[in-house]
């Protein structure tokens, strides 16, 4: 076991770090992270409109007028329903920064390319197709995220290629650099916009009518079905995060960074269902996992609590006190490195097992509607547990579920903590 861990540390760790540091994944992650505050703010307005007080839906109209529900959710619509526009810009901007290109020019080029490609039509309720509009939602919201990501990376790469090969219009040296820079984008922009146009026209000839529809049907939908929206996908996500953390890789941001575009579409479907007064279709969202990581990856708040109240070793008691406060905000490096859990054969067992147990319990509690499902709103992952469960599900059942989760995790961790604690306590006594 120790040999295996050592091998993992020497071989797998550098590899995993290289993957985590891969430039496109990095740009994807950083691009989304830039936008998350906007989604959180948008969500706050949704939470206000849907706050779970009986009769609030009637009262808000009574007090503020019939238009109130539509008006108060405008910030949510302007963020979630046009998300693809922001994503294509943000990812391209981050990738351009990595290449040390002119980031804002690159971002705008990607945005325009996306606008050329995405279908700009809207079907009215009577079935009439209105053209030349940018609709809220549809390909500009969460449904268009995958295309937004592809376009952002493609355009940035092509632009970078042109710059590197110097296939640009060169201005004489007397021309100010800002003007020269603007001109240097001319040939790449012309090429890219033409390419987008050709792609659009080609896809019009297919049954999909657009690249967006094609990618959605061929990639986004299947991936969402297989990876994101079933109990096995949930378990795979959960285990991949704890396994990577087991060798010391900050995996939450890595795994979430890849799956977020798929989750966001599921979240939006839930939000739409709420607005339409229908039952929520999806269980797996990013917040489903936030609810599992009570105190941080591996549900380690349970560990901190056990250490505070049950540890005999002085060092572990102190560690519990140090880890408690950050744990309330789901930050757990003190536990992971201090106990330690990382690369410790014994503690890795409950660290990987407890979240699996909770994932299964939570999934089926939501599947059988014993507990409310995540509404889709985005709240900061640093929100303290229990309050977090309430806000994510918009129901007290979510808060209770997190208490149950904490107890389950505690029971799984307890015997293992007892073992390392006894050992440590013995060491401390013999030292004296």
């Amino acid at each position: 076991m120790n040999r295996l861990l050592k091998l993992m540390e020497e071989k797998l760790l550098p590899f995993a770090h290289r993957v985590a540091g891969q430039r496109h994944l990095g740009a994807l992650r950083d691009g989304f992270i830039t936008l998350i505050p906007l989604l959180i703010i948008g969500s706050i307005f949704l939470i206000i409109q849907n706050f779970p007080i009986p009769g609030w839906d009637v009262k808000q109209v009574e007090w503020f007028g019939a238009a109130f529900p539509d008006l108060i959710t405008l910030p949510a619509k302007a963020t979630f329903d046009l998300l693809s526009l922001y994503v294509v810009f943000a990812i391209s901007y981050r990738l351009a920064q990595h290449y040390k290109m002119d980031a804002i020019t690159t971002g705008i080029l990607s945005l325009v390319s996306f606008l050329i490609i995405a279908p700009k039509t809207l079907k009215s309720e009577s079935g009439e197709v209105i053209s030349n509009v940018i609709p809220m939602g549809e390909w500009f919201g969460s449904k268009g995220l995958l295309v937004a990501i592809i376009i952002a990376i493609l355009v940035t790469e092509i632009y970078n290629f042109f710059l590197k090969r110097k296939i640009i219009i060169k201005m004489p040296e007397q021309v100010p650099p800002t003007v020269a820079k603007a001109f240097s984008a001319l040939i790449p922009a012309f090429t890219m916009f033409s390419l987008m146009l050709v792609v659009s026209i080609l896809f019009l000839q297919t049954p999909y009518h657009s690249l967006n529809e094609f990618i959605y049907v061929m990639l986004a939908k299947p991936i969402t079905l297989f990876i994101a929206n079933n109990v096995f996908g949930a378990l795979a996500t959960c285990i991949s995060i704890t396994l990577l953390w087991s060798i010391g890789i900050n995996s939450g941001s890595l795994v979430n960074g890849v799956l977020r575009p798929f989750w966001l579409d599921l979240q939006k479907e839930n939000m739409n269902a709420i607005q339409a007064g229908q039952p929520l279709p999806n269980i797996i969202t990013e917040q489903f996992f936030d609810m599992i990581w009570i105190g941080g990856a591996g549900t380690t708040l349970a560990v901190a609590i056990i250490l505070i109240f049950r540890a005999k070793s002085r060092q572990f008691k102190e560690l519990g006190r140090i880890a408690g406060a950050p744990g309330l905000f789901n930050i757990n490096e003190p536990i992971l490195f201090g106990l330690p859990i990382i690369l410790s054969p014994l503690m890795l067992i409950p660290f990987n097992l407890a979240p699996v147990a909770i994932t299964v319990v939570n999934y089926f509690a939501m599947y059988f509607d014993l507990v409310a499902r995540p509404t889709g709103v985005v709240i900061p992952w640093t929100t303290p547990p229990i309050i977090q469960g309430f806000m994510i599900t918009n129901s007290w059942t979510g808060a209770v579920l997190q208490v149950v989760d904490l107890i389950i995790a505690g029971l799984i961790y307890y015997p293992f903590i007892k073992m390392v604690d006894r050992q440590k306590y013995k060491e401390e006594i013999t030292e004296k």
């Binding site: 550098p14 985590a20 950050p326 003190p334 536990i335 490195f337 201090g338």
Partner: protein, 100 residues
């Protein structure tokens, strides 16, 4: 004295900076302590006296040591237990030892 803590992007490194600053203030040591992601190390080297790596970055130690040898900046890895227990005093001591 400028001390750099380099790690992935960890949340707790910034908590560590606060702890170390408190110790430095108590002991009247003028120290500029910063936590940065490892990939931004090169941009932040100016005036740096010592670089400490987060325990999870141990495998990069050799590479970074050779890179920083030209700048005469010492590098070491923070002990994983000190990191977990948030021992600002121990880690500050380690930094001071390396500078000497």
């Amino acid at each position: 004295m400028k001390i750099i803590l380099a790690c992935d992007a960890g949340m707790s490194t910034s908590i560590m900076v606060t702890k170390m600053k408190n110790v430095a203030d108590e002991k009247d040591i003028a120290a500029d302590i910063q936590a940065i992601p490892l990939k931004f190390l090169d941009e932040n080297l100016e005036g740096t006296d010592v670089v400490l790596l987060g325990p999870q970055m141990k495998y990069t130690l050799e590479k970074i040591q050779t890179r920083l040898a030209d700048h005469n900046i010492p590098v070491d890895v923070i002990d994983s237990l000190d990191y977990g227990m948030m021992r600002g005093d121990k880690i500050l001591e380690q930094a001071l030892r390396l500078v000497k």
